[in-house]
Symmetry: C2
Subunit: 241 residues, 2 copies
DNA sequence: TCAATAGTGTCTTTTAGACAATATTGC
DNA sequence: GCAATATTGTCTAAAAGACACTATTGA
């Protein structure tokens, strides 16, 4: 085994360590991902995930939150409240043609509303549909695919879906989040029964019911509960064969 | 956003990138983890996870497989067949007191039998019970805890448990793997019904049945099936409250 | 009135959990 | 025979799925 004691940090060409952010939202019944347009080679003009270098004195998680605030134009306080989760690390030697870059990818889920009005560099950040997205720089298409897999799986046994919803939301909105992420239709009464029967998933919020589109009965409002995981899970409908 | 184009790799003190391996096995009904004893400061004399530096031209995954082969004394071919999975990356600035080290942790599951007879550096590698383990160097206790959480969760909806079993195993052995990892007792008839009803989880193997301890009816042998995930999942018994 | 969405109730099928009963081995 | 483990079977409880039905809004 190698040991760090025997290692001279300057003996090798150094590794660069970056974070990449796969920031998702649901708008108009479609999953969107936050992308920026690259101005320089390689991949000049291509779309890419936001991200940046981990600074010498910060953790990857801190770097991810810092970049997230910068890219979305949110305050640090708001960004701190967003759901941010480490996805995995990508370290193929040639994933960046210029130098050795190891990137820690993070997934963030944000409610549908806020535009990525960027302070600073984020002016070119834009929501793009996660399906039918353009060609992406580096291995970013892979990162997005991995992130979508992870999100879809976590929807089954965690309360993660509420991270896509505003503070107060209707069960119809929550159901649409599930349907969008999973790409399936769910039965409304059964979904409702299941969600309400899961302790800590959602809790009712008092006040005037909200109308969804103007038409139809106004729906009751709920907010995210205190639970983090679902017991029992909310399983994706299976493709029986 | 920072961009690698504007980055001088030698401007900062470089990052070192390592892999840490949390290698587990089940023996005698207890979960064990492969540890090495450190010979040098910091943490001289303490136990630590095996691992090492990612070389300039290899991916973290390749480094993990290389280190795994070295530490366990297995051939590259055997090591390639073991279950190896990226856990997460640890990047706190002071996790190593000497320098900035970002470590990509991997989890490996191996069948109970093989001793870590090490070629080379691995002579000091040893299986230790995962509970009641000694104090560990760096943040390795945290890594082991994260790995155990992940394994326990994945047991619910994947076929991962068979990775702890030899090529041919009995349902009783598989059940004991579940019971060890989850720390619960399972009902044998129900476990059996569930496993056999899940397509692709296990498949029967012909040949003489094996006796477990000499006493009792010999059990039929099975091998791992072709499925990777369980549908529907095999849920951990819930602590109802 | 109708269209549209929210919400309730009910029935059936599936799955999980508890546990009795039988089978096959070593001693 | 008995102890120990494997295996089958049965009954019950819980959950999922399908779907009819009612409720409340805007036009």
């Amino acid at each position: 085994m190698n040991d760090a004691t025997t290692y001279d940090p300057h003996a090798f060409e150094p590794f660069a360590v970056t974070v990449d952010l796969a920031v998702f939202t649901v708008r108009e019944g479609r999953l969107h991902v936050l992308l920026i347009r690259r101005g320089q080679d390689p991949y000049a003009g291509a779309w890419a995930l936001p991200g940046g270098f981990v600074l010498p004195r910060e953790s990857a998680e801190s770097a991810a939150r810092r970049e997230l605030a910068e890219e979305t134009g949110l305050s640090r306080e708001s960004a701190a409240a967003l759901h941010l989760e480490q996805l995995r690390t990508y370290s193929e030697p040639d994933r960046d043609p210029r130098m050795r870059v190891v990137s820690v990818a993070y997934t963030a889920l944000v409610p549908g509303l806020p535009e990525p009005r960027g302070g600073g560099d984020a002016a070119h950040a834009q929501w793009m549909p996660a399906d039918g997205a353009p060609a992406l720089a580096f291995d970013h298409a892979r990162i997005i695919a991995d992130a979508r897999d992870r999100i879809g799986a976590k929807f089954e046994y965690t309360c993660l879906a509420t991270a896509f919803c505003p503070r107060a939301f209707t069960l119809g909105e929550l159901q649409q989040v599930y349907e969008t992420v999973w790409g399936v239709e769910l039965d409304r009464p059964n979904f409702r029964r299941k969600v309400l029967a899961t302790p800590g998933f959602v809790e009712p919020v008092e006040g005037a019911p909200r109308r969804t589109g103007g038409r139809g009965k106004p729906a009751a409002l709920y907010r995210a509960g205190t639970a983090a995981t679902l017991h029992p899970p909310l399983l994706r409908p299976q493709r029986r064969f």
